[in-house]
Symmetry: C2
Subunit: 491 residues, 2 copies
């Protein structure tokens, strides 16, 4: 099979797009900026959802569902929220179509204009806090720990499959608490859930940190994030967790009687991750032959390919393959036995490499003689011949091994692409010649941050949570600084 992907080195952005389309993950739809998530891509999202949903429930959260539509006036209620979210959004103004006079098409019925326009949710703080007003009267109603799985719409001008689409799928947690401290603890707890998910399930190392004022969620007191590094050296924000203070409680008048019977405004958090994570997953691990998927998120973990010259050989191989498939499935390993007679083994090999199936098992006539199979791992491309004895246990072990190896490789890449710089010249050189995270001193002002962004396209990804204090001088202004912050060019 000829190479189907543009190489990363040639054009990283084209490589990414080729890969998403050719591996059958997603494609652009007829609606500008909206994607179709194809079954193979959606299966990855379902696996992500399962793991995350379990983690949310284990930390005490319940799912619920709130309306897709938000009355326009709700956006004006929280002053900074409106600036961040009410701008690029889909607006419903009418509720009926009718046949055109020539009968050949349908037109919007001008008589069916809504009194108040409805906005398709870009995020649900406003409609949810308007609802919480009815749910919260007393400290006994708190904490309220709710998550929603939903679609949201932000009218992005430049879209890219998974990374930035007008409509995307996500989860948004919205919690209510009696004290600031509890809400802050929740904010950090969910950040840790995201970190654990990224590292253990996606095999993507992340740096936890807090955003600068500029990069904060519109309406938040503090925004925490996890930042990942892609193979082209650009950063990707993989999840955010916001401490919202009492901003939304005040905007929607949500008060509760505390234990002393006194009224106070409720404290809030919100946190979310989206189908963007699939973009991060692809860009963190994949190569010029296709996807490299961590076994924990691979829709197919093992593929078995028969190599045969006759129907009779195929039958004998199938007996062995089907038995092996059952043994593996008993260990909760997902297996596909590809006995299609319309494609040759080489074609199949390339196809499963493209699709990132972690382990490929080939069985030929000679293998039957020796009771062996050929096992190839996708991450390192290594092959070995293994005996059928205890093969299920060996494959189980191999999958763990692959998961860990993919993670370790990503950690090594990330670690070798964090550069400390001490001057603005060094900063700019590093961005251009050794892209990655750059740790540099910053004077703490938005002015400096914006100037650096304007001049270099690099942004402060976060102030890492485990940062060591260190006296220094801002690379841009020369003013004193107490710590280095994490810069990068970002998706």
């Amino acid at each position: 099979m000829a190479k189907v992907l543009t190489s990363k080195e040639e054009n990283y952005s084209q490589w990414y797009n080729d890969l998403v389309v050719k591996a059958d993950l997603a494609e652009n739809s007829a609606v500008r900026g909206c994607m179709v998530i194809k079954p193979y891509g959606y299966a990855i999202w379902e696996k992500m959802q399962q793991v995350l949903d379990k983690m949310f429930k284990e930390t005490g959260h319940q799912n619920a569902y709130f309306p897709l539509f938000i009355p326009k006036s709700f956006f004006s209620k929280e002053a900074s929220h409106v600036d961040g979210f009410a701008k690029e959004c889909a607006v419903v103004t009418h509720y009926r179509l009718k046949n055109s006079e020539d009968g050949k098409s349908v037109i919007v019925d001008p008589d069916a204009k809504l009194e108040e326009e409805l906005i398709i949710r870009p995020t649900s703080e406003t409609i949810i806090w308007n609802t919480y007003k009815g749910w919260i009267q007393s400290y006994r109603d708190l904490p309220l720990l709710i998550n929603q799985w939903a679609n949201v719409v932000r009218w992005e001008m430049r879209t890219r499959l998974f990374l930035r689409t007008a409509e995307f799928l996500w989860q948004e947690g919205h919690t209510a608490h009696a004290t600031a401290q509890e809400a802050q603890e929740e904010t950090k707890r969910m950040l840790e859930v995201y970190e654990e998910f990224a590292q253990n399930t996606m095999a993507v190392p992340v740096i936890k940190g807090v955003k600068t004022e500029n990069e904060r969620f519109a309406g938040a007191i503090e925004t925490y994030c996890i930042e990942a590094l892609m193979q082209d050296g650009k950063a990707l924000q993989a999840g955010t967790s916001h401490f919202l203070g009492q901003n939304f409680a005040k905007a929607f008048d949500v008060q509760f009687a505390n234990k002393e019977g006194k009224l106070d405004y409720v404290w809030a958090t919100s946190w979310g991750v989206s189908t963007r994570l699939i973009g991060a997953l692809i860009m963190a691990h994949s190569d010029n032959d296709g996807l490299v998927l961590p076994p924990k998120l691979a829709p197919i973990q093992v593929v078995i390919v028969p190599i045969y010259k006759s129907e009779e050989e195929l039958n004998r191989i199938s007996t062995v393959a089907n038995k092996l498939k059952k043994e593996l499935e008993k260990k909760n390993i997902s297996v596909k036995y590809d006995n299609r007679d319309t494609q040759r083994p080489g074609f199949k090999f390339a196809e499963y490499e493209l699709k990132g199936v972690p382990v490929r098992i080939a069985i030929g006539a000679r293998d039957l003689e020796y009771n062996t199979v050929e096992v190839a791992r996708r991450d390192t491309k290594e092959k070995e011949t293994l005996s059928l004895v205890d093969l299920d246990a060996k494959i189980e072990h191999l999958l763990e091994n692959i998961q860990n190896n993919i993670y370790q490789k990503a950690v090594d890449f990330r670690d070798s692409n964090i550069t400390k710089v001490d001057s603005y010249q060094e900063f700019k050189n590093t961005l251009d010649n050794k892209p990655g995270f750059v740790l540099a001193h910053w004077d703490g002002t938005s002015e400096t941050e914006l100037k650096i962004k304007e001049e270099t396209k690099a942004t402060i990804r976060c102030i890492p949570l485990d940062n060591k204090l260190e006296d220094g001088i801002c690379i841009y202004s020369g003013k004193p600084s107490k710590q280095r912050v994490l810069f990068a060019r970002a998706y």
Copy 2:
């Protein structure tokens, strides 16, 4: 606790609404016609989704996701579809808001008008078949068996929680086949999946049938349905499965090369169930004290309530309760131990009756002496004292028993409310005095069907699939008829 519900006998409709709200299933939102599904209601939906999703996958389907938005022009492409769906729908005309001149609110930016309006999907045939055009070239690409879990919007004028809301959640299957026969088989296979789900999981008996031309899905050649009977004698359509012929393939020009290399249009089906099923579940089983949930869909299957006079008693009871909880959980039974000290046992009993928890276990100080507990079942309100020995197995058995009993009760009710009538007078009397399904002869014309509907509000729910042919005379026109059809007033 005082009765919190209007009784069914007093006002069935009010009873239903009270129950949905008081049992914390759902509530109306600030957006006209849209509901908030609260955690307890959403937990039921999640259980429904899990069972259905497994059944879909076992029958070879994969999930995918298509855009929320459909270009307006797509609706005009399938002639009958547009009449059925393009009328009452939410129309997006703009993609940006801006601050008003006084800075106090936001307004729709007139400069951000879309060239072509977008419709929020009321169902996804059009956008999906537009996509399938790119996916299907040859018979090798068929069958294509895809399902989507999504929100849809139909601008209903009169809404009722779960039963009819402007936005609702559902699944929609959309399959593509090489032959009419295969597509017809798929249509019936999915109808059977729905029947099995309704009966085995929801404990709601249903009648499978085919819709008359009048009641067909807009764009279908044939619409199959499952019809359930509610306790007030009204019918509820619980699921539909459509054979779409080549209508959508022709509208969106989806052709495939068959084995002989000849081009032909693809054959289609679509099928769906929605959060409406939660309404059916409630109305089929519940009583004046609250919900009655079949164990297979109950978010909490067993609640344990301690009855104590002192902290010391509570501690001893808690030891037993927590041990029992663990044993039950090992059997995959979901258990809540309610040791709140803010509410008395009687209050808790009423609360869990309202919420339909199938089994309640009360443990008091005397029980500790005798190693017993009091077990109450929600469906029959029977109580018995049981030994702790093998209690987990007994409870497991009891839950099965409750599931079966609820189903049998619904079957008995349904069967005793199917009436055969042979004259129009008898028909009208039955509808008014013994509401339920009415089997009557019909001459097969839309004209008669519509007149009967106009005069009695009864519609033909379906022509049952297992119908016996029987010569007779149409109750309305006196013309000859070959079989009875199923009439009812319906939700």
